[in-house]
């Protein structure tokens, strides 16, 4: 027999196969050298399993036929010794390009087969999916329940972005106080003494807020931004703006600001997604529109009737409660402001308790 002849009787013809059974009961035949790339399968083979159709290796339940197929593709590629790191990396990059659901399934399956390199690969890919996303987005992608209500949490201790709910809360506070002040003013006949300072500030503000009827350009551009935030509401000008056009200050500052705004409406073009979401969550009881920039210029130590004050606080609480709040503790604090404490009416979780979540056993690691 020549060497050429012996080549014909090469190991390919004597390739060993193993039998694998997936969770659905189906059995398939796989090249042993490929399957053994998975430690789980390797152990099973060494225990004598898988050599025939009657004694297939039972794969863990998390491995369905589709996942097995993917995993075997991975193994088939990587178990070939000659490949360069570059080749392997390139294969891996293409391999993980799949939708998140499959990625999760694959991670799970790979983990149950103890195939660590694939677990690492898919885990990293999942981490990249998660990176930079908000909790809401992550929840949507992974179809997770929104069940954190009154968890005791730290506020995000490092990075925090301006929370649109706070701004809206602030606005509501300001508006309420203003309404009160209006009411008081109407009650009392005395004219308000305003310092020259205050007035110019108000006027300047009203320019920014577009309260000036004469400068339609600026008003539209500014209101564009605000109106985007309040999709559900009309686009009329704010009704309770501070000053009228007649009292507009003729300071150069104000005029220049005006011009600038009408020239650059693009500034107000883009609305961050957070605000949009916050808007959706809001149930705005009052359809009157308040420019966000308006602030309360009255002396806040005024003689507001404590009962009225309490009413304001209560309304603000209602408003805040309706938000999809992950600040249960904070709400508690706001509610317990001042001497008169109102009974807490926070939403309570299924256990009927406001306590910290303890439903997972504390693991001693």
């Amino acid at each position: 027999m020549t060497e050429a002849d012996s080549e014909i009787i090469k190991p390919e013809m004597l390739k060993v196969y193993v039998w694998l059974q997936t969770s659905d009961g189906s059995i398939q035949q796989v090249e042993q050298e490929v399957a053994m790339y998975c430690p789980f399968i390797c152990h099973e083979i060494h225990s004598g399993m898988g050599s025939s159709k009657n004694y297939p290796i039972s794969l863990p339940s998390r491995v369905n036929p589709a996942m097995l197929s993917l995993i075997l593709d991975y193994c088939r590629f990587h178990q070939v010794p000659g490949r360069s790191n570059k080749e392997r990396k390139s294969f891996d990059e293409k391999f993980v390009r799949m939708d998140t659901k499959r990625l999760c399934e694959l991670t799970s399956a790979a983990d149950s087969l103890q195939l660590k390199p694939l677990v690492d690969l898919t885990s990293r890919a999942l981490a990249r999916v998660i990176e930079g996303k908000s909790p809401e987005e992550i929840r949507e992608i992974f179809h997770l329940p929104d069940d954190l209500t009154e968890e005791e949490k730290l506020e995000p201790i490092k990075n925090t972005m301006d929370d649109p709910r706070i701004r809206l809360l602030n606005r509501l506070y300001a508006r309420k106080r203003k309404e009160l002040k209006e009411r008081e003013r109407l009650k009392n006949v005395e004219t308000e003494e305003e310092h020259a300072d205050d007035r110019s500030v108000d006027d300047l503000l009203s320019f920014i807020n577009g309260g000036n009827e004469d400068s339609k350009g600026s008003r539209t551009s500014k209101n564009k931004k605000k109106n985007r935030k309040r999709k559900d509401h009309d686009k009329t000008a704010p009704l309770n703006c501070i000053s009228t056009s007649s009292s507009n200050s003729s300071s150069n500052n104000a005029v220049n600001m005006n011009k600038k705004e009408s020239n650059e409406p693009a500034v107000y073009g883009k609305l961050p997604p957070d605000l949009r979401n916050a808007t959706k969550m809001l149930d705005i009881e009052n359809d009157r529109f308040d420019p966000e920039d308006e602030f309360d210029d009255c002396d806040l130590d005024d003689d507001i009737d404590p009962a009225l004050k309490e009413k304001i606080d209560r309304e603000v609480e209602d408003f805040a409660r309706r938000l999809n709040s992950d600040w249960p503790e904070r709400m508690q604090e706001i509610l317990s402001l001042g001497q008169d404490r109102r009974p807490l009416q926070l939403t309570i979780n299924g256990n009927g308790s406001l306590r910290r979540f303890t439903s997972l056993d504390q693991r001693q690691k």
């Binding site: 998390r62 999760c104 399934e105 991670t107 799970s108 983990d111 677990v119 690492d120 885990s123 990293r124 981490a127 990249r128 998660i130 990176e131 930079g132 909790p135 992550i138 929840r139 992974f142 179809h143 997770l144 329940p145 069940d147 954190l148 968890e151 949490k153 730290l154 506020e155 995000p156 201790i157 490092k158 972005m161 301006d162 929370d163 706070i166 701004r167 809360l169 602030n170 506070y173 300001a174 300072d197 205050d198 110019s200 500030v201 300047l204 920014i208 500052n253 600001m257 961050p272 920039d293 602030f295 806040l300 130590d301 904070r330 604090e333 706001i334 317990s336 402001l337 001042g338 997972l360």
Partner: protein
Amino acid sequence: MASAFPEEVLEHVFSFLSSDKDRNAVSMVCKSWYEIERWCRRRVFIGNCYAVAPEVVIRRFPKVRAVEMKGKPHFADFNLVPDGWGGYVQPWIAAMAAAYPMLEEIKLKRMVVTDECLEVIAKSFRNFKVLVLSSCEGFTTDGLASVAANCRNLRELDLRESEVEDLSGHWLSHFPDNCTSLASLNMSCLASEVSFSALERLVARCSNLRTLRLNRAVPLEKLANLLRRAPQLVELGTGAYSAEIRSDVFSNLAEAFSVCKQLKGLSGFWDVVPAYLPAMNSVCSGITSLNLSYATIESPDLIKLVSQCRNLRRLWVLDYIEDTGLEAIAASCKDLQELRVFPSDPFGVEPNVSLTEQGLVSVSEGCPKLQSVLYFCRQMSNAALITIARSRPNMIRFRLCIIEPQAPDYLTLEPLDTGFGAIVQNCRKLRRLSMSGLLTDRVFEYIGTHAKKLEMLSIAFAGDSDLGLHHVLSGCDSLRKLEIRDCPFGDKALLANAAKLETMRSLWMSSCSVSYGACKMLGQKLPRVNVEVIDERGPPDSRPDSCPVEKLYVYRTVSGRRVDMPGFVWTMDENAALRF
């Protein structure tokens, strides 16, 4: 889907999320992720040590291995925070000693650390590896000795710009002979001379040593010995860079440098004798970070040195660099990302060097990757700022310090509003801004309108009225830290934007016009925020409510008022109105 996922796998996924922001997002997704995440959180950053109590951190994250924390407000660097204000790390160390036996890293900035703390650290954490004390104070070299002696696996000991009571250099000799783990040692802030032989032996046996920053007392003649023992060094801080001019010392040094093929960063350079600078020629092309902020080298030696470092990414230098030097840098250092120019004579009335706005303009135009600037100068113009803004829309940090407060555009005598306005309008990714010069409310309008990514803003001697502050508080969506001094900002803007304060880490206002009454009001209405009045004139209630407070520090917290306030700090809370 989540239920099919075993916890260990999810943890594994989380382990690839390095940013705190991502980890925080993950923890807020749902109950199970919250639980899983908190058990596998290994690193915690606490930007304000008073924002949360140690017990709360420990309870939520039981398995933390690395803690990083900051104490005093940034303006403490400018001596605006009186001594004894706070920032004590002791309660944290005590709590962590009990709860985190496996703690490996502690990094602190602007905190008060005592020798007792250092001893507790040294003896409580058997796997302790990294200690970084940046701008800290309250400890002596005895505390360091304790750390050196007891931390068997110490990898990093970095004292940055801490104020250490230097009792002796003997502490270094406390590193046991079998300590070989050191990878980074920064003792540049210490004055005393350490035993050179102990240092030499330490360096020789720590083969992983990558960073070595010596103090001034280590003489130049001995530097070569150290370099020879540590040719693998990546970052070197020299001692005093001066010696008698001798050719043997020079060639020895040059040869030692030539062996350090991995050197990327250089610092130190006290008392430079220019003749010795060329000894570093062999390493210049590899240098990416150069800190010459103590080096009183002038042109042409300075320019010669810097232009040889063509791969420079970070340069800290004194204004001896002058406009000509910066032009040279603009021409040769195309990878420059960060530039800091410090004043050599900030209190001099007349400029002692020829450094103007032109230098910064040159670098902005010539270095396409420039994104971080700290620049001290004596004159600025709107035109220059506009040019800088247009050249570098990728700017992330921009701090301009015109030495004379309220200096106008020197060409037009106008305020610098439009200049800074151009910066915020063009540099959309700007995260940090410090302003100076003559500025009106207008600049704040620009900032509030455009600076949507701005996280930290420093203002001094600027603005005309509350409107300025209002623009910032209402417009800057990403604002986390706001520090203000000597501005005509009063109660209105603050009270109207009170809720904004809960979304920020902190607000500092000193020498402004915020009344005591307004502080009380803020404290009452914001339960999750500590409103602290700092007033060395005595109790604020001994003065009328309308009287402005000296200093105000407002910060959000989940742990209520702090209990370690000195006599000149008062917390405004809901009981304040009742008490006073």
